[in-house]
């Protein structure tokens, strides 16, 4: 695939994250504010709440999508930054390393998500 396509994919992942990340950050980091607005989500970070959310199919799909989009966009960005200081010879190796880190992190994150779902 041409570089410009990978870049468009990264921008699309970012656009998707505007929705997913805003929901996630709002719920997990601004629950005090939500309470003021009349929606009390309770202790969103308690073990019971985390496990209960994790057992919903919708949540599992949400998290897998989110994990993929965030890792792809973030690591594509990291690779762009590092490519600027990598001589042409090393660029293939760099892309390979970044890809491997992304796949490993995705595999672990997906494992945790699916294990929580299946209980």
């Amino acid at each position: 695939m041409r570089e410009s396509r990978w870049w468009i994919l990264s921008l699309s992942a970012a656009a998707l994250m505007v929705v997913l990340l805003t929901l996630h950050m709002g719920l997990m980091h601004l629950s005090g504010l939500m309470k003021v607005l009349g929606v009390d989500p309770g202790d969103v970070r308690s073990f019971a709440a985390v496990m209960e959310r994790g057992r919903s199919l919708a949540q599992m799909v949400f998290y897998l999508l989110f994990l993929g989009a965030a890792l792809y966009h973030g690591l594509y960005g990291l690779r762009s930054v590092l490519l600027e200081v990598t001589p042409p010879r090393g660029q293939g190796v760099l892309s390979g390393l970044v890809l491997a880190a992304g796949l490993l992190a995705f595999a672990y994150g997906a494992y945790v998500t699916v294990r929580t779902f299946t209980g």
């Binding site: 505007v18 805003t22 601004l30 504010l33 073990f47 960005g77 672990y108 994150g109 294990r115």
Partner: protein
Amino acid sequence: MAEAARRVQSGPPKRIGVRGWVYAGRYGLDRYLYILQRASGLGLILYLFLHIYETGIRLRGEAAWSATMALFRTPVFVVFEFILFAGFVFHALNGLRLIFAELGWLLGPPTRPVYPYRTSIRRHRPWVYALMVLTGLFVALAAWDIFVLLD
């Protein structure tokens, strides 16, 4: 002479290397926003790896999970959480602006280059200010939530 020939061959030094990542010279506001976009993005990806590890702690049971969450409620981590949130707000809003600009939106129609010039960057500038105000507003709300409401 040899030096001049070498310079013709390789051209003048074009790169200022890593210094160019933080030094915007005469480029001004947009270039500094780009630097901040990059810095906040790198912060977020670093955090994402920690976050994937840390959320996996739930598989080790309730005690391990609760101990981790208690650690996150200590002052140092609360300050980190705020910085993370501020980085996210800036990166997301400025990123949205960049995506629009890259699609050619919010730049105004093309015009003939007649003096005094009005570049698309100038026409786009009000959006930059609007988004910075919005970023400031969300960051202030986050500070209220993280430091006051949840205490």
